[in-house]
């Protein structure tokens, strides 16, 4: 029943998406608004339909319908309810459907919210979102169907099919429950409830700005309309992706047990690549809005961002690269590849066509080399260079080498830490200088003057770091550059508030809130700069000054690392958890300056039923802002557990990464927060009149 319901709803959504795309296109040809409305309604319908099919899958997971192959594959009778929910995206088939569901939700929102304002772009927005959705739904329907069930045929063979074939009977439910696989141990973590949805939202969310960009190119409305309509959508996608990336790092830190949070794995990089282009885009659109420049470039960045999204999806779901994160190999590789290629060719082709016709000509030229525009250009170049370096390392070189030279190579952290640091540093330098420069031209003198206070503040931060952290002069210098990019943002905000306070006589609080309210975008952006600086200091500190040691301790013995003492107290072997896993837990006490500060329980989880990787080394950590004392249980004497081997890390400043991410979300919310009512009302009043002309 559930399988049929889910399948039919998915199929209807697929038809609706195709209908919407076709009808939207046709409505432009024949200029009929009623057809366009029909297209819109079909597009809107995909969201409730996919909600039904996702709901059916969820109910099937919760009510243990093991006849459904997907349910059998990702849950077993021991799976707790919480992980039954997250099992929705626990494997390829479910996560693809979930992906389509999010995409239809984004399309639903954009069609409702931007319908009135952007009538001219809408047919094409429907066309491009629905074509993409239809493609992903076709994957769910024809390649990775989450609603397929097991059937036993009259000749005793087992087949997978949604509907009962002639003479087929369902397998005995007891047998199914007994043999069920259970969720991949790697995914049994609290972070898994938020990390994949956020990452998918970040990926999928870029479809809205992409579709608007394509709509602008297709319709010929090449003004800043598409940018204005999608600013918040872009920010929403961007912040989801940012948070998804950091939470993915947090998950790796908590579950994978290698003491770090970013491993430069191709799959991680695949998610980072669209972030780089998306961030470059967020910056360079400001120039188009303010100065009418870089129209082609902005289009290109947006098309590139979405192309990178699809490429990342292709690379991680097809088995193009091997990675801990990648999905099992499947048939969807070539369909995804052709979709990526087709989508990129069409969008680049459309852009070049408009450009060749001279319709994307800039209104201004660059003047001074120190103007804000040129600094933004530099920022964009650095982002693109980072993109190239990371893309090459993750996908270019390994595949090229294997194909052409016949040698398999690994490009690991080693490569990325040789190539990317100068570029990251350049970004932080630009982040520090650009907000202080003016549009048009800036003099060095003016710039120098504006840098005085931020430099002093940054020096204070560096001093603080020098006192509390291990650091060499070069590292301190880099800390300083990163800190400066944050203090500039901070000081600019304070300076703005002070000016209001002085000239308007407002109280400090009023001055501050009024300042932010007047230009939420700028001050939200500054807060994001600050958060990135904090994140950057955390990433640098934890990378450069990580300490580690591995020792075998007898009960009662201790080891020392970086001012901490860790004592091995005892061992709890063979603890069976609720979900059937067996835990071996070591108990240790952490001391500092002779005082006991924490009891930690690093452990090894064993999943008897899981296929493939069935043990997980779960760390335990004592966290302070200064550093994390992070303990892994590596090994122990099997029978007596008299002694155990521990790997201990000190990760300096790593908590700044998580705090920075939190601040980043707040900054984005400020930047996205709707303008004051009156402004909105006038905008609404202004736009229909324009349309009236177009429609009449």
């Amino acid at each position: 029943m559930l399988a049929e319901l889910g399948f039919i709803a998915t199929f209807l959504a697929f038809l609706a998406a195709l209908y919407a795309a076709g009808m939207a296109f046709y409505s432009v040809r024949v200029r009929d608004d009623r057809l366009l409305l029909s297209a819109r309604n079909a597009a809107l319908a995909t969201f409730p339909l996919l909600t039904i099919s996702l709901g059916a899958l969820l109910v099937a997971l919760l009510s243990e319908q093991y006849q459904i192959a997907y349910v059998w594959n990702v849950t077993d009778p021991n799976t707790p309810t919480f992980f039954r929910l997250t099992a929705l995206w626990g494997a390829q088939a479910g996560s693809l459907l979930f992906w389509s569901g999010i995409m239809s939700a984004f399309a639903f929102g954009a069609l409702l919210l931007n319908w009135q304002g952007q009538r001219r772009l809408m047919p094409y927005v429907i066309l491009y979102t629905m074509l993409t959705l239809a493609f992903f739904l076709s994957l769910s329907l024809f390649f990775e169907n989450p609603f397929e069930r097991y059937w036993i045929m009259p000749d005793n063979s087992v087949v997978k099919s949604v509907f009962a074939l002639g003479g087929a009977v369902p397998p005995a439910s007891v047998r199914l429950a007994e043999t069920a696989n259970g969720l991949n141990p790697l995914l049994r973590h609290f972070g898994m409830i938020v990390h994949p949805p956020l990452l998918y939202m970040g990926f999928v969310g870029f479809i809205i700005p992409f579709a608007f960009a394509m709509a602008a190119l297709a319709s010929g409305d090449l003004s800043t309309n598409w940018l204005k309509a999608t600013r918040r959508w872009t920010l929403l996608a961007w912040v989801s992706l940012s948070l998804g990336l950091v939470l993915g790092g947090r998950w790796a830190y908590d579950v994978l047990g290698w003491g770090g949070w970013w491993g430069w794995d191709p799959v991680e990089n695949a998610a980072f690549l669209p972030w780089l282009l998306g961030t470059a885009f967020l910056h360079s659109v400001i120039i188009q809005e303010k100065r009418g420049m870089f129209k082609v470039w902005n289009m290109f960045l947006m098309l590139g961002t979405f192309s990178a999204v699809i490429f990342g999806t292709f690379a991680t779901r097809s088995g193009l690269v091997d990675s801990v994160h990648s999905f099992a190999r499947s048939q969807i590789g070539f369909p995804l590849f052709f979709f990526w290629f087709g989508m990129t060719s069409v969008s680049v082709g459309l852009l070049l066509w408009r450009w060749r016709r001279g319709e994307l000509r800039d209104e201004r030229r660059l003047n001074g080399w120190l103007s804000r525009e040129s600094l933004f250009v530099l920022n964009n170049i650095v982002f693109v260079m980072l993109f190239i370096a990371i893309f090459w390392g993750s996908f270019g070189a390994p595949i090229f080498s294997e194909l052409v030279m016949g040698t398999t190579i690994t490009l690991g952290k080693d490569y990325f830490l040789q190539v990317t640091p100068p570029l990251f540093l350049a970004l932080f330098v630009l982040m520090g200088v650009a907000p202080l420069s003016a549009w048009g031209v800036t003099s060095l003198r003016r710039l120098g003057k504006a840098l005085i206070v931020p430099t002093v503040l940054a020096a204070l931060i560096v001093g603080l770091l020098a006192l509390t952290q291990p650091a060499e002069p070069l590292a301190l210098l880099i800390y300083g550059v990163i800190a400066l990019s944050g203090t500039v943002a901070l000081w600019e905000t304070v300076r703005g508030a002070a000016a209001r306070h002085r000239s308007l006589g407002e109280g400090w609080y009023t001055a501050f809130t009024a300042l932010v309210a007047r230009n939420r975008r700028r001050y939200g952006g500054y807060l994001i700069h600050l958060s990135i600086a904090i994140l950057g200091i955390g990433a640098l500190g934890s990378e450069l000054y990580q300490q580690e040691t591995q020792r075998t301790l007898a009960v009662g013995q201790s080891l020392e690392l970086g001012g901490y003492v860790m004592r091995y107290d005892g061992f709890l072997g063979g603890q069976v958890a609720e979900d059937g896993r067996i835990m071996d837990i070591a108990q240790v006490t952490v001391l500092r300056d002779g005082r006991e500060i924490a009891q930690l329980r690093p452990r090894r989880d064993f999943y008897p039923n899981a296929q493939g990787m069935n043990t997980m080394t779960i760390p335990s950590a004592h966290s302070t802002l200064e550093n994390d004392f992070y303990v892994l249980l590596v090994d122990w004497e099997t029978i007596s557990a008299r002694s155990a081997t521990f790997k201990v890390f000190i990760n300096p400043l790593i908590n700044l990464i998580w705090w920075g991410a939190l601040l980043l979300v707040i900054g984005t919310i400020i930047g996205m927060y709707p303008e004051d009512r009156p402004a909105l009302a006038t905008a609404k009043a202004a736009q229909p009149s324009q349309l009236a002309g177009a429609k009449a």
Binding site: L320, F337, F341, W355, R356, R357, G358, L403, T408
Partner: protein, 193 residues
């Protein structure tokens, strides 16, 4: 019509130079095409699985005893090519079975070759000693042979017939009866020496 011409005039005035535009379009197409080529071929390369028929890829194995055995030199004999590793549990299940089959067939025009995947001399030697394996075994230096046969794990076994064609491929630990049957099938194929 007039408006249209006006619009075109404007475009002519504002359009980028023809040569520059064409150059950029060709460049973009070239970049896109080469990326598509690399990733399309890369995907095909990744998706290729173990060969189950056709000519067996040629290689030369340096055995742990220092001999060099070229696959080509074994034409006219049936070759049982077994990939294994000392760290692999299932390989240990089949080790004794393989040796027993070798004893049975070694004088009947059949050659066994063991190839240790990502193994070290020490561990491999200890493993061979433990199971009393006497047929030639060697390490797969630089995982070249494994790459040729596109193995996805160990143990995996290929049976190559007298003409150097792959006769059968198995992805699981073997039992003697199954292995014997496979060897007999391969012996029946191809020209008698």
């Amino acid at each position: 019509m007039t408006e249209l011409r006006m619009a075109e005039d404007l475009q002519v005035e504002r359009a980028p130079s023809k040569r520059g535009a064409n150059f950029l379009i060709v460049l973009a197409a070239a970049i896109l095409a080469s990326m598509a080529l690399i990733f399309g071929l890369g995907l095909r390369h990744q998706q290729r699985t173990q060969p189950t028929e056709g000519a067996a890829p040629l290689f030369t194995l340096k055995t742990l005893n220092g001999e060099e055995i070229a696959l080509e030199s074994l034409r006219g004999k049936v070759v049982v090519l077994n990939f294994w590793a000392s760290w692999c549990g299932p390989c240990r299940d089949e080790a004794a079975e393989l040796e027993a089959a070798w004893q049975q067939y070694k004088d009947k025009g059949v050659v066994f070759l063991g190839i240790a995947y990502t193994d070290t001399e020490r561990n491999a030697q200890a493993y061979l000693k433990e199971y009393g394996i006497t047929y030639p075994n060697g390490l797969d230096y630089q995982t070249r042979i494994s790459a040729l046969y596109r193995i996805s794990g160990v143990p995996e076994t290929f049976i190559i017939d007298r003409d150097g064609q792959i006769s059968e491929f198995v992805m699981m630990p073997l039992k003697r009866p199954q292995l014997s049957a496979m060897i007999e099938r391969a012996l029946a194929k191809g020209a008698q020496p």
